[in-house]
């Protein structure tokens, strides 16, 4: 009997766990270690953040779902990995620390035959002074990264709306809180949902809404932008985004590294080296992501974290980390099997794996501050990685010597439906597909992407799709009948 341990139950971890449990059946063990009691469909947090959905609608308890799936669920956080075991324990194991009520602080060593690291990001609020302390959100801004944060954001937004109704003009700032952030898409959705909400509340004219981000152009989205067929013409995400911002009356600043947050004010450094400030009454700034801080120890107890993990705390996998200059980057640098090069039974998926380099052009200010969006690897690509790795491991347990499935971001496309306002008749969303995620200039000379696989459209229908996807993915994650038929 083999035991597969999965650290984390986000989009990628949960996908991997549910498929592995189904395919492995009763003969083997699947153990899920996650500090959270509830699963959260993170994309819908945007709607929680504007009070259009409740926390309960986007979350559910994990325990009954894993019981149904036949997986063992441990509500605990992983602290360290001993891939070679230790002096007292023969087999490889992970040390975990329980977070479940009544069991807090209890530690345990969980032995494994295979390990999937799907811990997701550490929300590194501490990276920007004033944005927060460590992983805790600060007092000046809000976030929509977790369901609780989103609930808090919705309250703050309501207060803001009350002030506007009372005749006070409000400044709203949405974007990224550091030069090395990813997930611009979430902030993009949030700013348009706020705009929509203010319009619905009849106070749109009382707000100045500004976008601030580390992208070097509007519509970069951490993917170096994309171009798509839209209304008969081929257009780029920049043109699309610029016209959308103009249409909705939103101001924007890009190429900005927010380096300080104070009450009602952010200070930012621009790509041209200037330092400026922006005032706000309400601000949602996405924090940069870091690895969760897992440690790795050798058999003799010596620290080998730097061998297993990249400096940012994300796990090294079968990617080429040696290339440093933009000109050298190639699609083949991107990992395929997501297997650790050192330990063949360890895999990392979703945000937990260390990407070889950004997708967007790396840019620096004259002072040397890096302002570059890091590659997005959430949502659909994340789930695809989880499923591919689960398939590989199942095959390896059944006798294969090497991983049998791949999920390379340079070979797969992604579909994204970005909400720009919620409402059955008044909602809008932008639906985009991009193929491949990492541009391949050899295969697709010119733009690096397949124009036939890259399309975009904005409208009410896309909003319905987005809403439908919410229910579909919640259904799938709850492993209700037919869940395997729902795509990633």
């Amino acid at each position: 009997m083999a035991r597969l341990v999965i650290l984390g139950a986000g989009v990628s971890g949960h996908t991997a766990a549910s498929f592995a449990a189904k395919w492995l059946g009763k003969g083997h063990e699947v153990v899920v270690v996650t500090p959270n009691a509830k699963w959260n469909w993170i994309p819908s947090n945007i709607w929680v953040g504007v009070g259009e959905m409740s926390k309960e609608e986007v979350t559910f308890d994990l325990a009954p779902v894993y019981e149904k799936a036949g997986a063992i669920y441990k509500q605990a956080k992983a602290v360290s990995i001993n891939p070679e075991g230790s002096e007292s324990i023969e087999k490889a194991f992970v040390s975990i620390e329980y977070t479940a009520e009544g069991k807090e602080g209890t530690t345990e060593e969980v032995e494994y035959d295979y390990l999937i690291n799907a811990t997701g990001p550490k929300l590194n609020f501490g990276a920007t002074p004033g944005l927060g302390e460590g992983t805790t959100l600060g007092e000046h801004t809000v976030s929509v990264c977790t369901a609780d944060h989103a609930v808090h954001a919705a309250h703050k937004l309501d207060e803001c709306i009350e002030k506007m109704k009372a005749g006070q003009r409000q400044k709203i700032l949405v974007g990224t809180g550091h030069g090395m952030c990813t997930c611009q898409g979430a902030a993009f959705e949030y700013i348009f949902n706020i705009e929509h909400k203010l319009k619905e509340s009849g106070v749109r004219d009382m707000a100045d809404i500004t976008w601030i981000s580390n992208e070097s152009f509007l519509g970069d989205f951490g993917m170096g932008g994309l171009h798509f067929k839209m209304g008969g013409y081929i257009s780029s995400s920049k043109v699309f985004a610029e016209s959308l911002y103009a249409e909705r009356g939103l101001d924007w600043v890009v190429g900005a590294h927010v380096n300080k947050v104070e009450a009602g004010k952010v200070t930012y450094e621009s790509l041209d080296g200037t330092v400026d400030t922006k005032e706000f009454d309400f601000a949602m700034l996405i924090p940069p992501f870091a690895g969760v801080g897992l440690k790795a120890y050798a058999k003799d107890g010596s620290d080998m974290t730097d061998k297993v993990f990249a400096p940012n705390g994300m796990m090294k996998v079968d990617a080429d980390y040696t290339k440093t200059s933009y000109a050298e980057w190639e699609p083949k640098d991107w990992p395929k099997t997501l297997q650790s090069p050192l330990y063949k039974n360890i895999f990392a998926v979703g945000i937990a794996f260390a990407p070889p380099h950004p997708i967007s052009k790396p840019m620096k200010t004259p002072n040397g501050t890096m302002i570059t969006p890091t590659p997005p690897r959430t949502g659909m690509p994340s789930a695809m990685m989880g499923k591919a790795v689960a398939q590989s491991i199942v095959d390896m347990i059944n006798g294969a010597s090497e991983p049998t499935h791949t999920a390379c971001m340079a070979e797969m496309g992604a579909a994204c439906v970005a909400s720009a306002g919620k409402g059955f008749f008044t909602g809008t969303a932008a639906a985009m597909t991009v193929f491949p995620i990492v541009p391949n200039f050899e295969k697709y000379p010119g733009t690096g992407r397949d124009i036939n696989g890259t399309t975009g459209e904005i409208g009410l229908a896309a909003h319905w799709v987005k809403h439908l996807l919410h229910h579909l993915f919640m259904w799938k994650a709850k492993l209700k009948p037919g869940w395997t038929l729902i795509p990633e």
């Binding site: 171009h227 081929i234 780029s236 043109v239 016209s243 790509l271 010119g446």
Partner: protein, 266 residues
């Protein structure tokens, strides 16, 4: 070497210019060619996609010198102005475009070193227009709604070169009408599944039959009229006739399917 500047209706073929990554001899030669081209055509600015190149670079004249901007990015902007603009891609047509009054740009020179500049007034507008080309945008794609329709009308009137460029055809109304009737027929067909009354069914079949004649007629009219409409284009190679044939066949195929099912269900 002076390059040909692409003009409407030929598409530039550049949907999006990815960043320049190699600052080599090939790039230098291209920049010099582009400069020669701009000078020969007495242009204030020229964007690489305008000569059909994927380089992310623009040339703009500043103080009688051409400034080379590689991988330019507008990072901040302020103010809005409506400017009346023309561009070499659409000869002799102007459009009112919403532009930013001032912009801050970062860009690289031919050696890959980063610089920044602040542009105001006409220089800012020229830069914005040239940078737009790098992202597949031109005057037409910047316009929306009514303004866009008007611009398209002007284009269609001024240019009857090739029918494959995106434009609105009167022939499309035939297809729209045909589709409308097809939907009606489909509704009638679906409702027939729930009706048992023989007399009513017979009556419905009549309606179905007459509507089908209408659809048939519309499709034939479409084919004939489209053929006539294509005749107006000066450099038409008739490649579009295949598309007309295809659209007509699709319409007739749909009609046949609906009628076949109707025949057995009524």
């Amino acid at each position: 070497m002076i390059k040909d500047i692409i003009t409407y209706p030929t598409p530039t073929g550049i949907e999006y210019a990815p960043d320049v990554r190699f600052f080599d001899e090939k790039l230098f030669i291209f920049i010099d060619d582009l400069k020669e081209t701009a000078e020969a055509n007495k242009l204030e600015g020229l964007s690489a996609p305008q000569v059909g190149s994927y380089y992310n670079l623009v040339l703009v004249k500043k103080d009688d010198e051409f400034l080379e901007l590689i991988n330019p990015r507008v990072i901040r902007k302020s103010g809005e102005v409506i400017s009346k603009e023309t561009t070499t891609y659409f000869p002799n047509i102007s459009a009112d475009i919403l532009r930013y009054e001032t912009i801050n740009i970062v860009y690289e020179d031919r050696y890959g070193d980063q610089h920044s500049l602040k542009a105001e007034g006409d220089f800012s507008i020229l830069l914005q227009r040239k940078i737009d080309y790098l992202y597949g945008a031109n005057l037409l794609t910047k316009l929306k709604g009514k303004d866009k329709e008007e611009f398209e009308k002007k284009l269609n009137a001024s240019n009857l070169g090739c029918p494959t460029t995106p434009r609105k055809f009167s022939r499309d109304y035939f297809i729209k009408a045909s589709n409308f009737f097809l939907v009606l027929m489909l509704l009638l067909l679906v409702s027939s599944f729930f009706i048992d009354d023989e007399l009513l069914l017979v009556e419905m079949w009549d309606y179905q039959l007459y509507t089908s004649f209408t659809v048939l007629a519309l499709n034939i009219c479409y084919a004939i009229y489209s053929y006539y409409e294509n005749k107006r284009f000066s450099v038409c190679t008739n490649c579009y006739n295949m598309s007309i044939f295809g659209v007509t066949m699709m319409g007739l195929f749909r009609l046949t399917v609906v009628m076949l099912v109707s025949y057995f269900s009524f």
